[in-house]
């Protein structure tokens, strides 16, 4: 299975929680208890989201985190890139400094690129708002 890291999964849960309290400044501890996720993990995720400008932070007493964009403007490609790095299926992509070790024998040099681009575009089309509005568990 092409896996998304758990961290990214958690990140979306946290962002969804923040979206329902738009404008409020929320502490890491508060978000952890609301989402029932371990606090250190939540902190780590919030830090990464902050570094990637998806949320903003305020330090000191009464500090906390808040969304900088509307949920409809936050796309999944940004969130995944923030947590897992660039969206790429294989090591052998355009960004890598050189061809892989098997370059001479490899008949598909760097050609995951079209696939990677297609996936990137697919993820850019899904917003946080869309994921929240899509209600209910499909198994119920």
């Amino acid at each position: 299975m092409i896996k998304l890291s758990k961290m990214t999964d958690y990140a979306v849960v946290i962002l969804a929680e923040m979206a329902t309290r738009d404008g409020q400044l929320l502490s890491a501890a508060g978000l952890a208890s609301h989402t029932r996720l371990p606090e250190p993990t939540v902190s780590k995720i919030l830090k990464l989201l902050t570094k990637n400008m998806i949320i903003s932070s305020k330090r000191g007493i009464n500090g906390g985190y808040s969304l900088v964009k509307a949920p409809a403007e936050i796309d999944m490609a940004s969130v995944i890139t923030a947590l897992d790095g660039p969206i790429a299926l294989a090591a052998c992509v355009e960004a890598s400094p050189e061809c892989c070790d098997y370059a001479d024998n490899c008949k598909i040099k760097g050609h995951w690129n079209p696939v990677n681009i297609a996936m990137q575009q697919a993820l850019e089309r899904v917003s946080l708002a869309q994921m929240i509005n899509n209600k209910g568990c499909p198994n119920e």
Copy 2:
């Protein structure tokens, strides 16, 4: 990074090698030496590809593997599914028997589904032939 397993990467290299010798019956050992990949690994991959009807095998002396479809008819979604299982980004998808442990607090229950479908479709549109024809290393 959203990772594809190395096995899948190898699988495409092996299939590309087979495509250039269309019709020939090739042994696991032969494919291993042509691709410079470890032989046991190549065997494991060929076995999985056979089970998923992407290639066919012939046993006994002078046996080997061959493609059952033209390279243009082999899509990446099939190859990835053969090696890594169903294409799905998160554990919390339609196929899973129940909602995740955080179901009660989770505001995005099972909503990676639209993303998964978009990715599946993107991968179905890329054929083995396309990946082979796309020549040269982008860094050269």
